[in-house]
């Protein structure tokens, strides 16, 4: 007699718990402002676990972004979160990348740029972060200098071993846009020297546009480019730039 009663009581409890879980009102809107401790706090109190804490906050940050970008569009604490994660784990490149785009959504380009600059310093062998900085400055920056600064970031990225050749082209293009035509010409010549067939075609087209029209002036402007490549290659470039060179 007691056993069926006990079973009944347990069944009732289980039903009640499940019913509550299923029917309880949807979770209340979460507050976009969350408490983010300082990185120094964790550095002081658990240096051995700082990357694990960074990872935990990284996962939280991804969740926080997903939750708010789709609902209230408020990402008040995003910058603090990105800052915390990247300070605890300065070599966590994915966190800078994700953070940059999330902060653009949060309308905090300046914070993103500052954090990214830290990332570049902490990860000198990574070309992705300076390239991202270039993208950030060119795409979202303001002011007359932005092409020049973006070009510098791309050039910095392009100088890192293993970086793709398109970074050199981007750097050269933006340098030209920034008004430094002589420097741009040199950069394009470098692209010509280092690049594949496609890059060379691009370089020739770009140089064609950059260099003066008149044969004499063009000849003078082209001369310094000889420094950037072997003689035979330079001959080829000249042939491409001067219709009647041969």
């Amino acid at each position: 007699m007691r056993r069926p009663l006990a079973l009944l009581a347990i069944a009732a409890c289980v039903t009640a718990v499940v019913a509550y879980q299923v029917t309880r009102p949807a979770r209340a809107e979460s507050d976009p402002r969350v408490f983010v401790p300082s990185a120094q706090f964790f550095e002081d109190f658990s240096p051995s676990f700082r990357t694990s804490i960074a990872d935990a906050y990284y996962l939280y940050m991804v969740q926080y972004y997903g939750e708010h970008v789709e609902t209230d569009q408020r990402l008040d604490s995003m910058a603090d979160l990105v800052d915390l994660v990247t300070r605890l784990s300065p070599r966590f490149t994915k966190a800078y990348q994700f953070g940059t785009f999330a902060l653009l959504d949060a309308d905090e380009g300046a914070r993103a740029y500052a954090i990214l600059q830290r990332g570049v310093e902490a990860n000198p062998e990574d070309w992705g972060l300076p390239a991202l900085a270039g993208f950030l400055v060119y795409g979202f920056g303001e002011g007359a200098e932005k092409e020049r600064i973006a070009a510098e970031w791309y050039a910095r990225a392009a100088a890192i071993e293993g970086s793709p050749i398109y970074l050199d082209r981007l750097a050269a293009t933006l340098t030209a846009k920034g008004g430094e035509e002589e420097k741009a010409a040199l950069m394009w010549a470098q692209v010509y020297a280092d690049g594949d067939k496609y890059s060379r075609e691009k370089a020739v087209a770009a140089l064609d546009g950059l260099l003066p029209e008149g044969k004499e002036e063009r000849m003078r402007a082209v001369a310094p480019l000889a420094e950037t490549m072997p003689e035979a290659m330079f001959e080829e470039l000249l042939a491409a730039l001067f219709e009647d060179y041969l």
Binding site: S46, P47, S48, R50, T51, S52, Y58, V62, F92, K94
Partner: protein
């Protein structure tokens, strides 16, 4: 030496057959595998999440096993009066303490090493840059866990098992903060504060100095010379704790 080996082997048998150990290890393995699930919401950072959280699991469970099993090592023999069998034979108190310690050390080598290897193989399977650093970090976690064992063995000779476990966990936590104590000794808050802080810094094992978990996710460049020195320091620390435990045991009557 023979006595130490006999007691160590017996302790290894005792602890490795402990059901609690099996449960904790299974739970730890589940936690490590749970890293996979966490990785799935990490935007292609599975490898990193797995290594990082996995090593935390190895540390936490290793320390828990160490603290709780070590506390009962000596006490159980005293309470169940098996010490009568040992000490009525030509077994010194020091051989007893060292044998018990080495036996649990062997068990923990299997437990912590097993978890580390499991984690390593898992990162190898999942991809995301399996790194031998996971194994190196595990070895150094093992060293920290052993230090906790030595400390708990000492405490268990002077206090109850549960208190010894708690004190052992406390020492582990304090060992994470020991550099803060050192900075306290430099703030110039008075000669006494400085002296006390310095003593506390010396007494508490410095675990941060041998922790290379961050290196497994490429977050630090390890100064191996310094790690080796600090590892030696921890070994000496254990020797001192065990010597103190032997000393207390020598004065005990049964």
């Amino acid at each position: 030496m023979n006595q130490v080996a006999a007691i160590a082997l017996n302790t290894f048998r005792e602890t490795i057959r402990d059901r609690v150990l099996t449960v904790i290890v299974l739970f730890a393995l589940v936690m490590i595998v749970a890293g996979l699930w966490l990785g799935s919401i990490s935007l292609e950072q599975q490898g990193r999440m797995m290594k990082d959280f996995g090593l935390v699991a190895v540390t936490v469970f290793g320390v828990i096993v160490a603290a709780f099993i070590a506390a009962t090592l000596v006490r159980k023999e005293v309470e169940k009066r098996t010490v009568f069998v040992l000490f009525s034979k030509p077994v010194s108190r020091a051989a007893f303490v060292v044998g018990k310690f080495l036996g649990l050390a062997a068990t923990l080598a299997a437990v912590v090493g097993g978890m580390g290897l499991f984690l390593f193989v898992l990162t190898l399977l999942v991809g995301g840059g399996a790194s031998g650093m996971v194994l190196v970090a595990t070895a150094l976690i093992y060293l920290q866990v052993l230090t906790v064992v030595a400390v708990v063995v000492f405490f268990s000779t002077v206090t109850s098992a549960i208190l010894a476990s708690m004190l052992g966990l406390g020492v582990f936590v304090a060992g994470q903060l020991s550099h803060n104590v050192l900075s306290l000794s430099r703030v110039g808050a008075g000669a006494i504060t400085e002296a006390v802080s310095w003593v506390v810094f010396v007494v508490i094992p410095n675990f941060n100095a041998v922790d290379v978990k961050a290196a497994a996710v490429g977050e630090m460049t390890v100064d191996w010379g310094s790690v080796a020195l600090w590892a030696g320091y921890l070994v000496a620390y254990m020797a001192v704790a065990l010597a103190a435990a032997s000393f207390v045991m020598r004065r005990k009557e049964f």
